[in-house]
Amino acid sequence: MRVATDPPVDGAAEALDDSAPPAPKRGRLPFSPWHLVLAPAALLFALPLIWMVLSSFMSNAQINQFPPTIIPDSLHLDGWNTVLGDSDFPRWFLNSTIVAGVTVVSNLVFCSLAGYAFARLRFRGSTLVFLLILLTLIIPFQLTMIPTFIVMDKLGLVDTLGALIVPQLVLPLGVFLMRQFFVNLPREVEEAARIDGCSRLGVLIHVALPLAKPALATLAALTFLLMWNDLLWPLIAINSDENSTLPLGLTTFQGQHTQDFGAVMAGNVITVVPVLLAFLFAQRSFIASLSSSAVKG
């Protein structure tokens, strides 16, 4: 499946844009009728997030008044002061960054190694082991979460960031993605390097991985998104505020500050905005990730 790319909408094309179909006979609108559907729909989708940002700058009085403020007449920093100065949000941000950062790096390393070996090297047991990895792709998490908790408990990792990191060091989906990529990579370049005396690892590092940048970007984006947004596993594995990640901390914070709307919304912005910014900067790569994860079935 190809990636959803924009039709070319550069300056010139955009100018032609809606007058593109030659002489629209019944066209009374100066723009495509689709805008009549898309614009309100887009507004409906964007409004909650816009309101989230706006209300993080509202005072409690503004939010608690009746009827509620939709567009504030003045901006306040009370919520942000609470969240940044008098809460664990900075700590949770750090924890989320550590968990997502470590798992992204380890997935890039270990999924590349394993994916390459399954794609290129013949060794005893490779088919069986790869089939086992495929099997885990269709096992829902709630089936394995209880034993995984017991294992983390035995390792003494419960209520540490380790409990969040260790089970996700290698995502089966990542091994699968990387293997699919390497299988479809032409062998010729690698064989030339082999003949020049390069080791298998050398070929992987110097020849195959530089060609695998799109697949690595996909893997990194997926891992980051899954780790940053996860709630269920941190909820099970973490008991203390100190070791919470952003989604877990946010839900705890909300429970303790039900009336402090501005602060909760500021915390919400902290949780959501890094991912949204990453998405805006790397929209194409994100969309490619989602599309390519769809072909796994």
Binding site: F31, W34, A42, L121, P147, T251, Q254, N268
Partner: protein, 303 residues
């Protein structure tokens, strides 16, 4: 096939581990983690489901009695009903809306970047954050939703605080946050529909609809089936949104299956029982995925 030079003498390692003994060094970290934390827990869960276990004291073998209890548990029956209601709302609506918006965006249209960003942004945001955001928007007393109802002269609603409404409000939030995936997949699939068909569709209204129905939609059938299965898997495993909005309330009206399993295992410490429930649900989900895989295989054979 392999570029390995044919070695005249196979080493001991090669005799045990196959042609490339060093390949095991490549896969070992991945295999250890996946076997240790995915494969073994599959069997372990099955064992747990035959035990009475509270995660603290040693487990007691109880045979099939967890499964026996499961059949008679009204809590499970309710959780299944809630999950099915959510699924029946979420799956068709999110998929259909995703298709509709993708058809709208699959053209040269101004602001396409802004539109796509608006539809995808909720999907990227953490579900916990979505839930927290909407529990304020739908707050009974101070929420914007009731303010809007007031402004247009409609009666105020209980939303997440009303046992008759909460599940539907959660489905609405789920659809808001879940439309991005079908949208992106349909956009990608529409790129593979031959351009002439789409162009022919834009001549006049009547032919446009016929082309859509008889040419484009059949082309999208495999993707649609994949999306229906995918969205069903997501909604049958709904958890984060319920936890971040209602925690199963009010009056247990939003307890869904995974929430039930979580609650049994980690709040009530009925780990063995929770494992039995998880096993039954997992078997159902695996059947669903299996059906999708068989469909793919059959289609590939006929193609």
């Amino acid at each position: 096939m392999s570029a390995e030079p044919a070695a005249p003498q196979r080493t001991f390692a090669q005799r045990i581990l196959g042609e490339n003994p060093s390949a095991w060094a490549f896969v070992l970290p991945a295999v250890l983690i996946i076997i240790g934390l995915s494969i073994i827990p599959i069997g372990w869960s099955l064992l747990l489901s035959f035990n009475s276990a509270d995660l603290i004291r040693p487990a007691q073998w109880v045979g099939l009695s967890n499964y026996d209890a499961l059949l008679k548990d009204p809590g499970i029956r309710d959780a299944v009903v809630h999950t099915i209601v959510y699924t029946v709302l979420f799956v068709p609506i999110s998929t259909a809306l995703g298709l509709f918006l993708a058809l709208g965006l699959n053209r040269r249209i101004r602001f396409i970047g802004i539109y796509r960003t608006a539809f995808l942004a909720p999907f990227i945001a953490s579900v916990a954050a979505q839930g927290v955001l909407f529990s304020f928007i739908f707050d009974e007393r101070f929420g914007v939703a009731n303010a809007v109802l007031d402004a247009v002269g409609l009666p105020r609603q209980g939303f997440l605080g009303d046992p008759d409404q909460a599940l539907f409000v959660i489905a609405l939030i789920g659809i808001w946050g879940g439309i991005g995936f079908p949208l992106v997949i349909y956009l990608a699939a529409l790129q593979d529909v031959p351009r002439e068909l789409v162009d022919a569709a834009s001549v006049d209204g009547a032919r446009r609809w016929a082309t859509l129905r008889h040419v484009i939609l059949p082309q999208l059938l495999p993707v649609t089936i994949f999306l229906l299965v995918w969205q069903a898997l997501l909604s049958l495993q709904l958890f984060d949104l319920v936890y971040a909005t209602t925690r199963g309330g009010p009056l247990d009206s939003t307890v869904v299956i995974v929430y039930y399993i979580y609650n049994q295992a980690f709040e009530l410490f009925h780990a063995g029982y929770a494992a039995a429930v998880a096993y039954v649900v997992a078997l159902f989900l695996i059947l669903l995925v299996g059906a999708q895989l068989i469909y793919n295989r059959l289609r590939a054979r006929h193609a």
